[in-house]
Symmetry: C2
Subunit: 243 residues, 2 copies
DNA sequence: ACCTGAACACCGTTCAAGT
DNA sequence: ACCTGAACACCGTTCAAGT
């Protein structure tokens, strides 16, 4: 993959001389991991698959990363580095917070089911603290108490990451089903859910069966927005008055 | 594990006659899976490990469950069956919703990292719809529009499950570290975080470094409660006036 | 219909041996 | 210091053969 070798004639035992060993590095490994993640998903991102990218075995990676967990955290932080943060403007804290959440969500959604890494690992990489300083600082400067700001920041992060992960579950299922058109997948999935709801016994499930249309009306993006506004309104209620 | 056999003398080839084959069933398999989950965590819950519980190989399970995913969903629904729901009282919708969220969170937290199954699978088992009918019906009866009720229910579920999962990540780490006292783990973990924050350059991270105490003040339970109230307040703001 | 052993195509990590 | 092949201890699932 790395260097395009001329293939050896089949009767020659293809033994690479030791001098041609690949020159690995942590950065190269992380980039390869990210490529695999984007193209094939998190489940395909194995140590063996990454090593394959350098025509070698998985043992070669352990000189540059401690283990798979560290590799995933490095890939995660690499992706977070794509997030650009504006200058803080506390007077517009609500708009800025909304924009921030949408931006983080967008970047995570771009990279398959990477959000699962964040959920499973409580990341503390460079970019995580950079983002933490932005949100925490914004809330503090807008007048919130440090305790409320810390708690709000924490809940905001959980919400964005968990919703991004939920979205990626659908994406992964779509890929597993061999579909490539999100629209097509979405309609067939929603159709199945609707059919299931309609088939439920109305006596035991009166509200679900009565309002199936409302239950399937909103897609992932609208659901994300709704929860986002719920949280923002809750946070606003805890913000000191600024009339 | 299942039947307490008298051990064979070592010189006897211990070959079970075919008539003594285990009598498997889906229920027995699900119960065994739940036992393993509770005792050793979700990562230990493999088809091979479940089969071991019946002194057989993993292939034997496939007559009763389609695959591992189905087994996990069955275990998940089995756990949800522990949740008791009260009579709906729309006048107390906020209290009832709070109690519901706390109850679901409590049951999930009891069963290791099972919440991961919910997050990865969009469950549609019997108990999921039972819970859905409760929450959706409560919001409808309290006067909410079907659309808002559907969206609110969806966000509530995501919040409870994702927070339960986040909590279980700590629990799993505690077990991996060989600790058994949550207090001990919590203090060492929080101590590490605090040390990391304090060591950050104050020029780039002025707010984090200044308010370390506030950032580490609240534990998982308090963070869960805080987000819960954020959501409830947001939902209340979308509820028609009832003065 | 249900159960089984063996096999297939994978995993992450370790270790001794190479350069 | 960095890279490697081989091995270890695992996975989920399939399949032909048994009862």
């Amino acid at each position: 993959m790395a260097t395009e070798d001329v293939p050896l004639p089949p009767w020659r035992k293809s033994r690479k001389p030791a001098q041609l060993r690949r020159q690995l590095s942590q950065d190269l490994i992380v980039e390869a991991g990210l490529r695999i993640l984007d193209a094939e998903g998190l489940d395909a991102l194995s140590m063996r698959r990454v090593a394959q990218e350098f025509d070698t075995g998985p043992a070669s990676l352990y000189a540059h990363v401690a283990n798979k967990e560290e590799l995933l955290e490095l890939v995660y932080d690499r992706v977070l580095s794509e997030i650009r943060l504006p200058e803080r403007d506390p007077g517009r804290w609500k708009e800025q917070l909304r924009e921030y959440m949408v931006e983080v969500h967008r970047v995570l959604a771009k990279h398959a089911d990477l959000a699962r890494v964040a959920l499973a690992n409580i990341p503390t990489g460079e970019n995580s603290v950079r983002m933490g300083e932005f949100v925490f600082g914004l809330l503090i400067e807008a007048g919130m108490s440090p305790r409320d700001a810390a708690l709000s920041m924490d809940r905001i992060s959980l919400y964005v990451v968990s919703d991004a992960y939920e979205g990626s579950v659908h994406f992964t299922r779509m890929r597993a089903a061999g579909l490539s058109d999100p629209q097509e997948y979405f309609e067939s999935f929603v159709g199945q859910i609707a059919g299931y709801y309609r088939a439920l016994p109305a006596a035991r499930f009166p509200h679900i069966t009565k309002f199936v249309d409302a239950l399937i009306a909103d897609d992932g993006e609208e659901r994300f927005q709704y929860g986002l506004e719920l949280l923002l309104d809750g946070i606003e209620a805890r913000m000191p008055r600024t009339p």
